[in-house]
Amino acid sequence: MPDVIGNEPILVANKIAKSFGGFAAVSEVSLNINIGECVALLGPNGAGKTTTCEMLEGLLEPDKGNIQIFGKEYRSSRKQILENVGVQLQETTLYKKYTVKETLQLFASFYPQAQPVEEVLRWLDLSEKANARIETLSGGLKQRVYLGCALIHNPKLLFLDEPTTGLDPQARRNIWDVVERLKNNSKSVLLTTHYMEEAAKLADRIAIIDQGRIIAEGSPESLIREYCKGEIINISFEGEPVKVNEIKIKLIERQAEFSDADIIENSLEISVPNAGSYIPRLIRTIDQLGLKIKSLTMRPGTLEDVFIKLTGRSIINV
């Protein structure tokens, strides 16, 4: 196994589509994952993430397009593919009356070559909980056991569907830590999430999905650079009521470089490559317009900003 991300794709999905009763859940999605690469499928709930994942996991057959994993197709080589793929589905509840060890033993029995259960327990820092029943575990620990079920056979490719949804921040960071270690072990990972922070932290490449289509793809930095120019200046004005829309028009008339501005909750968010050099000019222009600044902040652009730029909606509130 190589230590760095290879250029050799381990998964190739070519224009896959799936409809349910006339509703196109996924329309022509193409996606590659290379060896050792973590790709995040980022999008709001209902965007088609899970349907895409389920097609890639062999649970749903695409209406159109084709999928190759390790150069093979599910139709002819299902067993060989699944022997090397680990899947963590969204919202699965393990048998609550089983112990952690019994759960992993059960999943180990499904594979011709599983790792020793004790080793996986150690790797996930679960050895102390080996004999605890699933029903007694916290949400974070349960999720770790579940991750263990997906890892028990040392798969080359992992599908993690919303692995941290519903977890507290500490438990979420623990899962991130596990995924980081998987990446270091040259595993390829397809992660679906609606948490920007998670995608930014874990993914080498992000595919933003909305209404069943991939609308942008690239590394987190390149997406932010491309769609947010880098940094965001947020500015709000004194006086009631503030007509932000009029201000925006006037501002752009005076200074075309502020044309990339959005109105967010009564304030103006302007995307610029380097906020530090733009702020003095911005303040001057506002002065000339006879307006008073109530607050002015600057921050780096985020994937949330990218999503808003792309769709005009916030990923969280969709």
């Binding site: 996991e57 699944l82 793929v85 969204q90 509840t93 048998y95 009356k97 499904f110």
Partner: protein, 350 residues
């Protein structure tokens, strides 16, 4: 013969059973509790007791009073004395089976009872017989009683095969399908499809698991019946066991069919109750079906619990060989085959 995944899943089925106190209760304790209560209540050589209401305008009058004393000495009669206006509500409420209006001075007695109620008619006969004897009726034909107690004729003997059949129904029907429905709801079935395990092994694990649980319930009921109630098997144990296995397979298949699509545990519960309740009441677990009208009896004959109860009872009480249970076995096999075919067609994993 078995793959390691099947072995591991069967171990899981047994584990789920052992660690679910309610499963243990329904499969092992419930039939034993029924057996103990009903066995104790209806065991021994007991005669029926009839409650009668006695009414007379003057009980102190000598001939009335001496008849009253005579009736009181009959252990089969329980006499209540009350005002005339109370009596009719006693009869309607089932407190008494017959109202006797007595006037011995006028050599007259009047019975108020419900001829449609067998208990009421029997009570009337019993009282009338006593009164006529008291008044001096002589028997025209001499009669002699020669009684024999037949082995297996006690109520408990009748009940034990019925309870075994009932337990097979409840544990197979509720146990199998419910686990599948809950596993589907919990996304576990979907999860299994993402592994190279052959998903049919999951279904097979349920069937094997059922047979293991059958051993437990079978042993619990039969050992308790033999040890506590001196139950005696008239037929062959092997036949009895084979029919139990067939019954368990039938209800497991019906359970899997009922849970073939649903992921809603309460809906599944409702559905299986709807299937099971009529059989629990009508298939003759608790009492003989002889009293049912013909048209109803014919329908009941084709409910799957009926041939199971009947064949277990025929083997245990009459010593009938399995080879002579063709009609019962045929009905069970039809249910097994039809339920299996439909379950296979309808089954969805998620």
């Amino acid at each position: 013969m078995f793959s390691k995944s099947l072995v591991e899943m069967v171990k899981g089925r047994v584990r789920e059973f052992k660690r679910e106190p309610s499963a243990m209760f329904f499969v092992v304790l419930m039939p034993i509790i029924w057996m103990s209560i009903l066995g104790a209540a209806f065991s021994g050589n007991r005669n029926e007791v009839f409650s009668i209401a006695l009414f007379s305008s003057d009980l102190k009058q000598e001939s009335n009073n001496s008849l009253y004393q005579f009736l009181k000495d009959d252990p089969q009669l329980q006499i209540l004395i009350g005002e005339a206006n109370e009596h009719s509500s006693w009869l309607k409420g089932g407190k008494v089976s017959v109202i006797v209006k007595l006037d011995m001075a006028a050599k007259q007695v009047e019975y108020h009872y419900d001829p449609n109620n067998p208990m009421s008619s029997k009570a009337r006969m019993q009282v009338n017989d006593k009164i006529q004897k008291f008044a001096g009726r002589s028997e025209v034909v001499k009669s002699k009683d020669d009684t024999v107690i037949i082995t297996g004729s006690r109520y408990i003997d009748f009940l034990i095969p019925g309870l075994l059949a009932l337990t097979i129904l409840t544990s197979s029907l509720f146990g199998t399908g419910m686990t599948i429905v809950v596993n589907r709801r919990d996304n576990l079935l979907k999860q299994y499809l993402t592994t190279p395990m052959n998903p049919y092994e999951y279904i097979i694990s349920h069937i094997i698991g059922r047979f293991i649980i059958l051993i437990v319930e079978f042993a619990a009921i039969m050992v308790f019946g033999i040890v506590v109630f001196d139950f005696q098997m008239q037929g062959r144990w092997l036949d009895y066991i084979l029919i139990s296995i067939l019954g368990s397979a039938v209800f497991a298949a019906i359970g899997i069919l009922a849970g073939a699509r649903s992921n809603n545990a309460s809906a599944y519960n409702g559905k299986t109750n709807l299937i099971a309740l009529p059989m629990m009441m009508l298939s003759g677990v608790w009492y003989s079906r002889a009293g049912f009208p013909n048209w109803l009896a014919q329908i009941i004959d084709y409910l799957p619990l009926t041939p199971l109860v009947d064949s277990l009872r025929k083997i245990a009480l009459e010593g009938v060989s399995i080879l002579r249970l063709g009609p019962e076995i045929a009905v069970l096999i039809v249910y097994l085959v039809v339920a299996t075919i439909f379950a296979k067609r309808r089954f969805v994993w998620f």
